[in-house]
Amino acid sequence: MKSVVIAGYARTPFTTAHKGAFAKVRPDDLAAAAVVGLLARTGVDGNAIEDLILGCAFPEGEQGFNMARLVVLMAGLPQAVGGVTVNRFCGSSMQAIHQAAGAIQMNAGNAFICAGVESMTRIPMTGFNPSPNPKLYAELPAAYISMGQTAENIAKRYRISREEQEAFSVTSQQKAAAAQAAGKLAAEIIPVGNVTQDGCIRPDTTQEALAGLKLAFDTHGTVTAGTASPLTDGASATLICSEDFAQAHGLPILARIRSIAISGCAPEVMGLGPILSTQKALQRAGLSVADLDIIELNEAFASQSIACIRDLGLDTAKINLDGGAIALGHPLGATGARITGKAAALLKREGKQFALATQCIGGGQGIATILEAL
């Protein structure tokens, strides 16, 4: 087996959809900015890149035309570099990393840029032409269930109260705000224009304020906009290569990819996806939950995060040290590369051994990556 490593991670600021600083910025421009920033920071030779794998959950409109290839051209990479856009909804850019890892194992290239992007302002979350299959919808309506409803289903099934979800959100906001204030996020952020920092974080969030919000998805439910990740615009990028390549090119290695996994679950509780995918990845890595030092668990919703923490028995002190998606935002296609890159960077920063990055995926899936320090 070859050793596959993460040798760079960068992202644009994440800003609130519709009213944030990137509302008028095209997603391909955002993705190109993240890639250009990554190239500059790592100093990697563009000629050595095999392919740019770009995750995007709704690859249409400005995110269409196989955006990855266009981002190659926009980022000034050599024309010999390929570009492929991949879609696994929220898991898209973690999938990009997995594909690169697989390709490297197959001797199908040594270095890949694995990026992700989503403008939730400019391309609506259902796409412009949502066209469900009427027969499938009749047989299994949950195949197209709204994400908010899945969060409600989990809250009910796991008896997670609104207060518990709100407490989780407050913690996420506090961690993100503290990290931002301490300049810890600046290390990963590539300024775009005059936008230099994240726009979604709400440092003054309190449990009382959250308690006053209206229910967002179900009048009989518990989930509000405050306990869900916000609609977000942003892009992220990682450099995935063989360890040999990194050493040959003098690239600083953040972490090695120890194992990966994908899994499916019932669409109506898609937020539970990380449970099985994490178990599979741990098993493949020959590790247990107790071995994990750093955990990046995507906070699509507070309820599903809490359920995953409970079922996996995760140590909350190790989770999302610099805040999660409820505070930072969740630009669907960009999140996977962010949390994987972040987990790798945290291993380095915190001097730890093993990290997990995992997330749930609409339609009922989970995806997980186990990293280890070299």
């Binding site: 409109g61 259902t126 412009f128 032409n129 949502p130 066209s131 469900p132 299959n133 009427p134 919808y137 309506p141 197209y144 709204s146 908010g148 409803q149 229910l215 967002a216 998805f217 179900d218 009048t219 439910g221």
Partner: protein
């Protein structure tokens, strides 16, 4: 010379409202105050001062100190600052230093005479200075009083009058430089009289308003409801500022005192709707809203009681005459208020205005009276009115004396003449570009006619179809007349305008007929009406002559659908168009779905793909969207981008006729559209969205049933994107699904509730 840029100084309620309305006319406007104002209040105010939120972009806020120089570019500077002569004059002196030589300066003062405003100012400034008195709220109140002097620059005066009439849509009335001008002079007298007499005769506020409202042709708020609306402190305030300038012995001075009960209300913050309450208030103490009224004798509130007065009942058949001659306290009250008010008005001409038409127009447009004071006297009978005044020992004003024989207005050979102060009669002439069916009706007979509609010849080969059913609701008789008109017009006419002078173009199909048929199980009857509407609207669309719809006020449901089938629309700016069928548990079925789908599918600026037009129509129709202005109707494509908008209600018919005439040469009916619709996948996409709305509590389960029915039609039914559908196919879908949902008891509950309460039922 035109007006390209305007400034309003003073960003209070009036100033900001005037600026908003100038923006509504598409003209850039500076809005200055001592400190730079924000537009937040303007954007949130209800009723909306802006006809479209985007009009706010035409308003540039600023402050007098920093942005005075910007006034150099303005053709018209409107002052709407505090009613204080010294402060106004100080501002004028500043304006004199920056104003362009031909720029007009006008004051929105309601109480300070023009000669006082310009005293001591340079002649050229004074020559370009006038009073333009707007009424609140400036967008909605049609009256604009202009006061000028003999020395006023006549070009400047003409320029402002033209702009206010054509661009702002105001009824411009020339008033003399007297206290309160026309409308407030008489209006305040009327309100004060009505209040004093109600107290004196021991009427409740409900009784007083019942007498003053409908029987006198005045909005049902009457006088106490109106006071609550404008603020109870406004009248004393206006009285106070007018007092010093009223001539000695003026009858209004006798009415100036504020009754103790009202003074107490003002002192304790009961200033009307803006305060804690007024003559009426909504008491929410028990959790429910209970309407209460104040006792004018004791100042205590109690639950409002509907007035029961025989005089009011008598007026329903016997009119105003029956009202004032009725012996009950309502009749006595009506006479006391009317006799004094009308007599006062008669005594003021030619002092406050050169002629009676100005006074009648001012009261109609400024206080929403259906008839002006002189028209009211004519209705009472001048001789009888004068006789009763004399019998009660009241002096008869000279003008009233002159009107004894022939009235204030007389109609002769198709013309209307009005009485001049010298006793002669002058023909009433409408300004160029004003065409009114009401005038036409006095001397012509309709080309075709039934109980619900008429077809008129409005000249130049253009016919006008008028609805005159109750609320202009559409029924089989109207449909019949449309069909007859379509057959009739090609013989002698070349175009059709659909227009009427009701408050509302049409409230939609007659729901009463629907309920009646449903109760008897007459589904064939309902079926026939749906089919007849579809057939006749299609015939109208493909008629061999141009058809222009000319709506004003509400154009809802079937009233909207008929506009959608016209070749063009010339809409009054205050037109409220919408497909509201879902509110009563139905879906548009006279071609409304079909036409909206066609408009959105062929709209160039829409997002790509086959779903957006379907979803857009669904969004608009499923929540019964009503556009809040003609400008906004273009956002929804209820109006096409090329449809015309007329600001002045009185100019609508002439504009529509002109619009129709431009289409006559080489007229070709439209090409029938074809439709490519996505079928079941779109229906499912909409159904999913609706289910989420139900879960979120934004829609009821029955809303979902209606929305899914609508989705079945808009998605094209059992079709595929590769198939082609015709108009006939879509009309068949509308018909099929309408006939299905109309039988649902929950739909009938909605319809009945609407008929009984005028409000939608959310079952």
């Amino acid at each position: 010379m035109d007006i390209h840029k305007v400034a309003v100084i003073g960003a209070g309620v009036m100033g900001a409202g005037i600026a908003a309305h100038i923006a509504n006319a598409g003209i850039p406007v500076l809005l200055l105050d001592i400190t730079t104002p924000t537009l937040d209040k303007l954007l949130k105010a209800d009723p909306a001062p802006l006809m479209h939120p985007k009009n706010a972009r035409l308003i540039t806020p600023g402050n007098i100190d920093d942005h005075l120089a910007a006034l150099r570019d303005c053709d018209w500077i409107i002052e709407a600052i505090v009613e204080n002569l010294a402060i106004k004059q100080e501002l004028y002196r500043k304006l004199a230093t920056v104003r362009r030589a031909d720029a007009v300066v006008s004051s929105n003062t309601s109480s300070i005479p023009l000669h006082e405003l310009i005293a001591g100012l340079p002649d050229d400034f004074a020559a370009h200075c006038m009073i333009t008195h707007f009424f609140n709220p400036p967008r909605y109140m049609r009256l604009l009083e202009i006061v000028s002097r003999a020395q006023t620059d006549q070009d400047a005066l003409a320029k402002i009058s033209y702009f206010c009439d054509h661009k702002l849509g105001k009824g411009v009335v020339t008033a003399n430089d007297t206290p309160g001008f026309i409308a407030n002079r008489i209006g305040i007298f009327w309100i004060q009289t009505a209040i004093h007499e109600a107290i004196a005769l021991g009427l409740t506020v409900e009784e007083a308003d019942a007498v003053i409202g409908k029987p006198m042709g005045i909005p049902k708020t009457g006088v106490f409801g109106l006071s609550d609306l404008v603020g109870i402190d406004l009248m004393p305030h206006l009285m106070h500022s007018m007092k010093h300038s009223l001539p000695a012995g003026d009858a209004l001075l006798e009415k100036a005192n504020i009754p103790p009960v009202i003074q107490t209300m003002i002192d304790t913050g009961y200033t009307g709707r803006k305060g804690k309450g007024g003559f009426y208030r909504l008491n929410r103490d028990g959790g429910e809203k209970v309407k209460e009224s104040i006792n004018l004798q004791t100042g205590e509130y109690s639950v409002s009681q509907a007035a029961k007065l025989d005089s009011v009942k008598a007026s329903r058949d016997g009119g105003l005459q029956a009202l004032v001659s009725h012996p009950d306290k309502g009749g006595q009250y009506a006479w006391r208020v009317l006799s004094q008010t009308l007599r006062y008005a008669a005594a003021l001409v030619p002092d406050i205005a050169d002629d009676i038409c100005a006074v009648d127009t001012a009261m109609k447009l400024g206080y929403n009276w259906r008839l002006g004071p002189f028209e009211l006297i004519d209705q009472l009978g001048v001789a009888a009115f004068a006789q009763r005044l004399a019998a009660e020992g009241m002096e008869i004003p000279p003008l009233l004396e002159k009107a004894r024989e022939q009235g204030f207005y007389r109609h002769e050979a198709g013309e209307t003449f009005y009485l001049q102060p010298d006793g002669t009669y002058t023909p009433l002439q409408r300004p160029a570009g004003v065409l009114l069916l009401a005038d036409l009706k006095r001397h012509t007979t309709p080309l075709l006619e039934n109980d619900a509609a008429s077809l008129w010849d409005i000249g130049d080969g253009v016919a006008c179809l008028e609805f005159h059913s109750k609320m202009n609701s559409l029924d089989p008789q109207i449909l019949e007349l449309i069909e007859e008109s379509i057959a009739f017009i090609p013989n002698n006419h070349q175009a059709l305008v659909i227009y009427n002078e009701g408050s509302n173009f049409s409230a939609g199909a007659n729901l009463g007929l629907l309920v009646f048929a449903a109760q008897l199980g007459g589904w064939d009857e309902v079926d026939n009406i749906v089919r007849a509407g579809q057939r006749i609207y299609q015939t109208l669309k493909y008629a061999p002559f141009p058809v222009v719809g000319a709506p004003s006020g509400m154009a809802l449901g079937g009233g909207c659908e008929i506009l959608l089938h016209c070749d063009a629309v010339q809409a009054h700016a205050e037109t409220y168009i919408g497909l509201i069928e879902t509110g009563v548990g139905l879906i548009p079925s006279w071609g409304g779905c079909k036409e909206m789908l066609h408009r959105w599918s062929s709209f160039r600026k829409r997002p790509g793909g086959f779903l957006p037009p379907v979803l857009k129509c669904f969004e608009i129709i499923s929540v019964a969207t009503v556009a809040k202005s003609a400008q906004e109707a273009k956002d929804y494509l209820f109006l096409r981008p090329t449809d015309g908008i007329t600001m002045n209600r009185d100019r609508l018919l002439a504009d529509a006729k002109a619009h129709a005439l431009t289409m006559v040469a080489n007229y070709q009916p439209p090409e029938p559209p074809v439709f490519h619709l996505p079928g079941a996948t779109a229906r499912v996409a909409m159904e999913m969205a609706v289910n989420d709305f139900v879960a979120q509590g934004k829609a009821t389960p029955y809303d979902a049933v209606i929305a899914n029915t609508l989705a079945a039609v808009l998605s094209g039914g059992d079709t595929d994107i590769t198939d082609t559908l015709s108009e006939t196919d879509l009309l068949a879908l509308e018909h099929q699904h309408f006939m299905q949902i109309v039988r649902n008891p929950a739909t009938l509950a909605r319809v009945s509730h609407m008929l009984e309460t005028g409000k939608p039922l959310r079952n």
